[in-house]
């Protein structure tokens, strides 16, 4: 059990962690989420006594870390995978840490096997990849078989197999009744791993709730509606009808409408009543990632602005929106000198005949090609 009360850390004029209060309970994986620079690592460093809080306190099983007897047997932490002397071999690195708490040498070999580094045990750690470094860090955290485990960004640099392994390891440790506190800036990863979420931004607590609850609270659904392009007034007519019926309508850059507050059948009925033909009517759920982005966007420390590429080239006003991949409607010009020609015969968008009979002729051509 980790408990923070009014935890605050200031570095000069900058407040890294601001009046943070939370509890991390045993038996769960608790995800600690926040954008880069939101104070996750500083909080973790304060939990293990590396940084002193400016005010407030944080305790582990009721005691501040520095007062824990035989701390390594209570708390294991992976804070920085690269925090090892590169000239030392993996096994001797672990051994030196184990000896600090009188942990037997046999345990070193055990944890090396747990993280799958048996074969690299005698390698110097400066040759380790980021993924191997993470595994070594996890091994260090597991040495004392502690009840409380802290992991700062443990999946950074791991391959998909490694990510799955970390996820299962966290869940297994929590199932054994341990307190597992994992930080990440990836909501999607935490949604799969954590039972409980603590979200911070600019050092302040934004949310402290169960993962399911967080999803229910934060992921709003919407419908995407696209009026037929052949009807020039269709979109406007439809938009007005939907607004009148109480829907909230936003226009996407490519002309589709994003509607909230109305059910799909209702939208269809309204379109029918207004005499507008539809080319698309699809349900969407905002992903957890979007909910998280929405929650933290005001709290993001480093925001990027659009790169104007001054004077380099004219911006294409009809560029495809980022979420629309692949070729779409034929009236989208193939402008932009960097755009490769779409696949298919004659550089034409495939299956998009502009003249009757064209499809049949291409089909015949390609049939001949294969012969």
């Amino acid at each position: 059990m980790i408990e923070a009360v009014g935890l605050t850390k200031r570095f000069g004029a900058k407040t890294a962690v601001d009046q943070l209060s939370f509890q991390v309970k045993p038996g769960h994986v608790t995800g600690f989420l926040g954008p880069n620079g939101s104070g996750k690592s500083t909080t973790m460093r304060m939990i293990v006594g590396l940084d002193r809080p400016t005010s407030g306190r944080v305790t582990i099983n009721g005691l501040p870390f520095r007062e824990l007897p035989n701390a390594q047997r209570h708390v294991g932490a992976l804070l920085d995978a690269k925090a090892v002397h590169g000239g030392r071999r993996a096994r001797t690195h672990l051994l030196s840490i184990a000896q600090l708490s009188g942990i037997p040498e046999k345990r070193v070999d055990e944890v090396l096997a747990v993280v799958g580094l048996q074969d690299a045990a005698r390698q110097r750690t400066k040759g380790f990849s980021l993924g191997m470094g993470q595994r070594l860090g996890i091994a260090t955290a597991l040495l004392g078989d502690p009840q409380v485990l802290l992991f700062d960004e443990p999946v950074n640099g791991l391959d998909p197999e490694g990510i799955l392994w970390v996820r299962n390891l966290m869940r297994r440790l929590a199932a054994e009744g341990r307190t597992v506190f994992v930080s990440s800036h990836l909501m999607s990863e935490m949604a799969l791993t954590a039972d409980h979420l603590i979200v911070i931004g600019r050092g302040r607590l934004l949310a402290d709730m169960g993962t399911q609850e967080f999803i229910a609270h934060n992921s709003a659904g919407f419908a995407r509606v696209r009026a037929a392009d052949t009807d020039p007034d269709g979109r406007e007519t439809l938009g007005r009808a939907l607004s009148k019926a109480g829907g909230r309508v936003l226009q996407e850059p490519d002309g589709a409408l994003r509607v909230t507050g109305l059910e799909l059948p209702g939208i269809s009925d309204l379109a029918h009543a207004a005499g507008v033909r539809l080319w698309e009517l699809s349900p969407h759920r905002a992903s957890l990632e979007e909910a998280y982005m929405r929650m933290t966007q005001s709290a993001v420390e480093y925001t990027s602005t659009e790169d104007p590429r001054a004077e380099l080239w004219e911006q294409d006003p009809l560029a495809l929106p980022a979420w629309e991949d692949g070729p779409s409607a034929p009236e989208v010009p193939q402008a932009g000198f960097f755009a490769p020609p779409p696949p298919g015969a004659g550089g034409k968008p495939f299956l998009m005949p502009s003249n009757p009979g064209e499809l049949a002729s291409t089909a015949k051509d390609s049939a001949e090609d294969t012969r």
């Binding site: 590396l50 390594q72 090892v84 002397h85 000239g87 030392r88 030196s96 840490i97 708490s101």
Partner: protein
């Protein structure tokens, strides 16, 4: 946390990095090598030396003539033992495992100092016997008056240099900063201040100037300047410097965020 556990851990750490063996080996080779070289030169030109120099000739001190350069390797050893913890981030892994910072630092300094002392003693005895063999008739033996004190003292001097450097590195937390302060301080500042009558008044109280008196058997040997303290007094002054540096290192580690 038992202190013995920290000692075991630090022993594992110190023996498993390459810098330990090369810095200590260099300290031995450079000290003994330069000592032998200068002994050869002295032996060849003994008859050309002035009356005073011949009267105060100190064959023991001649064997430690290489100390001026050999101690630089000891400084690097002392600095690296501490500063690599910071430069690699190992300190965070260590302190996340041991909350008691005082015990951690003193365990580290104890192991490194004992090792430096052993290598220092080996160095001083090797240098002594090598130089005495070269000096031949002009040389002396361990049974001479105060000779054993000077030879053991030379080993202790090397260990204290290393410990002083560890304290400084604990305060500065950086290899580059520590080495670029310590080496000019010992090699240039101390020597310059002691080269002139006017500044020697202060320069003689600097750690290496005071501590190196322990290596002299003949007082004011080889025409060197008089000092207001004896060999033990000089070592005492050096010990005060070392204590201040270690205390500073402890205060910084205990107070500052790691």
């Amino acid at each position: 946390m038992a202190f013995s556990a920290v000692l075991t851990s630090e022993w594992t750490k110190i023996r498993t990095v390459a810098s330990t063996s090369w810095t200590l080996a260099l300290a031995l080779i450079v000290t003994a090598g330069f000592g032998a070289l200068i002994s050869t030169a002295v032996a060849a030109s003994f008859d050309d030396m002035s009356q005073i120099e011949r009267a105060t000739f100190d064959p023991t001190l001649v064997s430690f003539a290489g100390m001026q350069f050999g101690q630089l390797a000891m400084i690097v050893f002392g600095v690296l033992v501490v500063s690599t913890e910071y430069s690699t981030g190992m300190i965070r892994t260590s302190l996340a495992a041991v909350p008691a910072r005082g015990g951690f630092l003193f365990g580290k300094l104890t192991v490194a100092t004992v090792l430096a002392l052993l290598v220092g003693l080996l160095t001083s005895f090797v240098s002594f016997f090598l130089s005495q063999a070269i000096l031949g008739d002009h040389g002396t033996g361990l049974d001479g008056e105060n000779v054993l004190r000077a030879v053991v003292g030379a080993g202790v001097y090397m260990a204290l240099i290393a410990l002083f450097s560890m304290g400084v590195a604990s305060m500065l937390r950086s290899s580059v900063a520590s080495i670029s302060i310590l080496i000019p301080f010992f090699l240039i500042v101390t020597n310059l201040l002691n080269a002139f009558e006017a500044t020697r008044e202060y320069g003689q109280y600097l750690p290496t100037a005071a501590g190196s008196k322990i290596m002299q058997v003949v007082p004011n040997a080889m025409g060197s300047a008089e000092s207001p303290y004896g060999p033990w007094g000089g070592l005492g002054i050096m010990l005060l410097w070392v204590a201040a540096s270690v205390l500073g290192g402890y205060l910084v580690l205990n107070k500052r965020d790691a």
